[in-house]
């Protein structure tokens, strides 16, 4: 029996060491990048993300998201259209998108594609297309560069410029700067939302109703 308890103890100790090792590099890896070495320039850090809505809107929502994250796609496809109609287009909210690539196979590639489309003023069109077609490219081990190219074309992007941007990975530094900013603000998953600078948790999910309630509450307090 003693041998059995010794074996249990051994399994527990080995598991504890492995889990500790798995959790330990996280901070270092996230801080260091855990990604291809990317030079972050001052211009990359100065970029504050693509926005939608009026500059004078009383509420700003900052979303940290990854185009390959299923939760982000679900939010973008199911909830965001209502938020866009009822809050953003109504001038009540300004929406700011920040990249937080999690490390899926195509997280960075899809983010780069959106940035390269954004260079031509087509960020939101490309973002919508990436999310709507996520089930086609996100689960597919095949490199989706060709599909992104098609999505960019459909979004009305000049493909010559887009290809040059993608080949040069022109906005890799922006992605890294955005990711580092997210880590510094305590983002550890996607989608994560900050409403007027404050982290907002949505225990029942980030639904359009929840956003309507939050914005109503802020505006009521102000008035």
């Amino acid at each position: 029996m003693k041998r059995f308890y010794a074996l249990l103890g051994l399994v527990a100790v080995v598991a504890a060491v492995l889990i500790w090792k798995a959790s330990r590099p996280q901070t270092a890896a996230l801080a260091a990048g855990d990604s291809p070495p990317v030079t972050v320039t001052a211009a990359d850090s100065a970029f504050r993300g693509f926005t939608l809505g009026s500059d004078s809107a009383p509420v700003e929502v900052v979303e940290y998201a990854d185009f390959q994250c299923p939760h982000c796609a679900e939010f973008a496809v199911v909830q965001f259209p209502t938020i866009r109609d009822q809050l953003i287009n109504a001038g009540r909210v300004r929406w700011r998108f920040r990249d937080f690539p999690l490390g899926f196979a195509w997280s960075r590639l899809s983010a780069l594609a959106s940035q390269c489309a954004g260079e031509q003023g087509k960020f939101w069109e490309m973002s919508d297309a990436l999310y709507q077609r996520q089930s086609d490219w996100g689960r597919n081990p095949k490199n989706p560069t060709g599909m992104f190219h098609d999505l960019a074309r459909a979004a009305g992007v000049d493909l010559g410029k887009y290809d040059g941007c993608m080949d040069a990975q022109r906005y890799a530094g922006r992605l890294e700067a955005s990711r580092q900013e997210g880590i510094a603000r305590g983002v550890n998953g996607t989608p994560t939302f900050f409403v007027n600078g404050r982290l907002r948790e949505f225990p029942r999910g980030p639904t359009s109703d929840a956003f309507l309630a939050v914005v109503d509450s802020i505006l009521r307090t102000r008035s």
Partner: protein
């Protein structure tokens, strides 16, 4: 007794797997050691939580219960009782059914496989086999050697 030892050991392994996935889910671990990245895909899907609670947490609770029951069954006071094995078998069958559902989701809905989930599925299957085997053996032993009758 051997089967209860095996159940306890397997439950401890299963608990560690569930703990690892749960720590990822709540953000303590940044990236799962998975190789292909499909573990994160599965874990961050909407099937990674149930009633607002990470699925891995249910696994932790289930394995902890099985582990505790198996350890209790190893104590001299309960060594001859049948209930620890029966309870462990019932929990394992419940866990196995839940695992079958999750595996179906992985294969046919998400089209992605999380290796840690496969590991947990193997562990719960082994626990169910060992626990049911142990329960049946005890049942047979009870039938073949009934308590001797006393008196005239």
């Amino acid at each position: 007794m051997r089967h209860r030892q095996a159940i306890a050991l397997l439950a401890l392994v299963g608990f560690c797997i569930a703990l690892y996935l749960w720590m990822y889910k709540i953000g303590i671990i940044g990236r799962l050691q998975c190789g292909t990245g499909t573990c994160e895909y599965v874990q961050t899907s909407r099937y990674g939580t149930l009633f607002g609670v990470p699925v891995a947490f249910y696994g932790m609770v289930g394995y902890a219960v099985i582990f505790a029951v198996a350890l209790a069954g190893l104590q001299p006071a309960f060594a001859d009782r049948r209930w620890p094995t029966t309870v462990a078998a019932a929990c394992a069958v419940g866990g196995l059914l839940f695992t079958l559902y999750l595996t179906y989701i992985e294969l046919f809905v998400l089209h992605a496989i999380c290796r840690w989930c496969v590991g947990s599925a193997i562990v719960i299957t082994l626990i169910a086999v060992v626990a049911i085997g142990g329960a049946l053996r005890r049942e047979r032993r009870a039938v073949s050697s009934p308590v001797p009758r006393t008196g005239p």
